[in-house]
């Protein structure tokens, strides 16, 4: 399914810090994601599912386009233990939560991304991996 391309946000400051601190070693490759700084994507969506499990956590959110059609996006995180160290728990996100997600998109063009930051409406930062080392370390 071809999904509408979301607005691309040049999140340069975050991206530079992220790239400098990132590690390529991982439980699995991150090479499938585009870590070019100006390719980082920010989307507004609504959480539809949370897969809080090893080896990697996934959050799935819905994005509605201007025609009203909904695309499902899958955001990948590190392991639950790493996310716990980042202040995220299995109860942090629930279906129906509106979120703003910044992520590295899949090079494949699939609705898939490696999540860097999630902000709630009102600006509360729930998880922010951009300033941390080891983001890509699994």
């Amino acid at each position: 399914m071809r999904t509408p391309r979301p607005s691309t946000v040049a999140f340069a400051g975050v991206a530079v810090a992220f790239l400098l601190g990132a590690a390529a070693s991982a439980h699995h490759s991150r090479a499938g994601y585009d870590n070019t700084p100006d390719k980082l994507v920010t989307q507004n969506g609504v959480v539809s599912n949370v897969l809080w499990r090893n080896p990697h956590v996934f959050v799935i959110w819905d994005v509605k386009d201007s025609n009203g059609s909904v695309a499902k996006w899958t955001g990948e995180f590190s392991s639950p233990t790493t996310m716990i160290s980042e202040g995220m728990s299995r109860d942090t996100f629930k279906p129906g939560d509106p979120i703003t997600v910044t992520f590295m998109p899949a090079k494949a063009g699939t609705p898939y991304g490696l999540v860097i930051k999630i902000v709630r409406p009102g600006g509360k930062v729930v998880v922010d991996l951009s300033q941390r080392r080891n983001l890509l370390e699994q």
């Binding site: 071809r2 990132a22 590690a23 390529a24 070693s25 991982a26 439980h27 699995h28 490759s29 090479a31 499938g32 994601y33 870590n35 070019t36 499990r53 090893n54 080896p55 990697h56 899958t74 990948e76 392991s79 233990t81 790493t82 716990i84 160290s85 980042e86 202040g87 995220m88 728990s89 899949a106 090079k107 494949a108 063009g109 699939t110 898939y112 930062v125 729930v126 998880v127 922010d128 300033q131 941390r132 080392r133 080891n134 370390e137 699994q138």
Partner: protein, 301 residues
């Protein structure tokens, strides 16, 4: 652009190793950035895992458990060990290959995609920075290259090393048995025996399954070993919070002389416990199909 990204990824991968990625803690700790968001505490009565802590948690735990200057028994290696400066970054600069070793190494180099990016397709563990995930065991000593925390448990006749990474273990027998001359099965974790030389715990092992690598290499491939590889490890608790680790690979079929790694230090993670971390093949089918394979094959969706 793609070339530049490849170079970037290669360079990034080359500098990333265990010393670079492991958080500093305990002795020799370095200043760490404050956590953007505090970590989530363990349930009451339970403890965090080593990787559940952020750097601030580790500093506080070291103070709370009085690690600095704490009394210790040099022959008691028990505890959970994490971080420090090794040993993954030490798995480089091997001695010259034998002709067979050269062939074996070249055989570990996988394919590139149309953009010239290495795909690490020969890395059967899927851990090498580009392969699709299939969760084959890493084996020993490659398992040391990504220490998610391991626990040493000392029993009268054996030492057990439990790894959070892939949730596996190895048994190091200390009851005086000798390594088998002709191991009846080849093991990913080898056949392991240990003994004390003074206050140094010496582990010798053989009988390795030659499908594992000693470690992956960059930009692609891995250091091979044969089924005749012998590994000699020397473990020494230099203080309460620090475990020194040195490893030598002896594999004359592959390397022209023993590969003596420099010593590394691993830190105690006081007040933690090992949690669970499996590689789950079925979980990665979606990843492989949606993220990895389209890039590998050049087929964009």
């Amino acid at each position: 652009m793609r070339y530049r990204m490849s170079v970037f990824l290669v360079a990034l991968a080359a500098v990333v190793s265990f010393p670079a990625t492991a958080p500093a803690q305990g002795q020799g700790q370095t200043a760490a950035k404050p956590a953007v968001v505090p970590s989530v505490p363990a349930p009451p009565g339970w403890s965090a895992c080593p990787r559940c802590q952020n750097d601030q948690d580790r500093r506080e735990a070291n103070v709370r458990h009085k690690v600095e200057g704490h009394a210790f028994s040099p022959r008691d290696l028990s505890g959970i060990w994490y971080g420090g400066n090794g040993p993954a970054g030490l798995f480089k600069n091997p001695p010259p290959f034998t002709p067979l070793g050269k062939d074996q190494f070249e055989a570990t180099i996988g394919e590139k995609n149309a953009a010239g990016e290495y795909l690490h397709t020969k890395d059967t563990s899927g851990e090498g920075g580009g392969a699709q995930v299939n969760c084959d065991p890493r084996g020993w000593p490659r398992l040391a290259t990504a220490n998610y925390g391991f626990e040493l448990i000392m029993l009268p006749d054996r030492v057990l090393q439990f790894f959070e990474q892939t949730h596996t273990w190895r048994t190091i027998w200390t009851d005086g048995r000798k390594l088998p001359d002709n191991p009846p099965e080849l093991r990913w974790m080898g056949w392991n025996v240990g003994r004390w030389e003074g206050n140094t715990f010496v582990v010798e092992s053989n009988g390795y399954d030659d499908r594992s690598w000693i470690s992956d290499t960059q930009p692609d491939g891995g250091w091979p070993h044969s089924d005749e590889m012998r590994v000699v490890e020397r473990w020494r608790r230099v203080n309460y919070g620090t475990l020194e680790f040195q490893l030598t690979v002896i594999d004359p079929k592959i390397y022209t002389k023993p590969w003596v790694m420099p010593a590394a230090r691993i830190n105690l993670a006081p007040g933690t416990e090992i949690w669970e971390y499996f590689c789950v093949p079925s979980d990665f089918i979606k990843f492989n199909n949606e993220v990895y394979l389209p890039v590998a094959t050049g087929e964009k969706k």
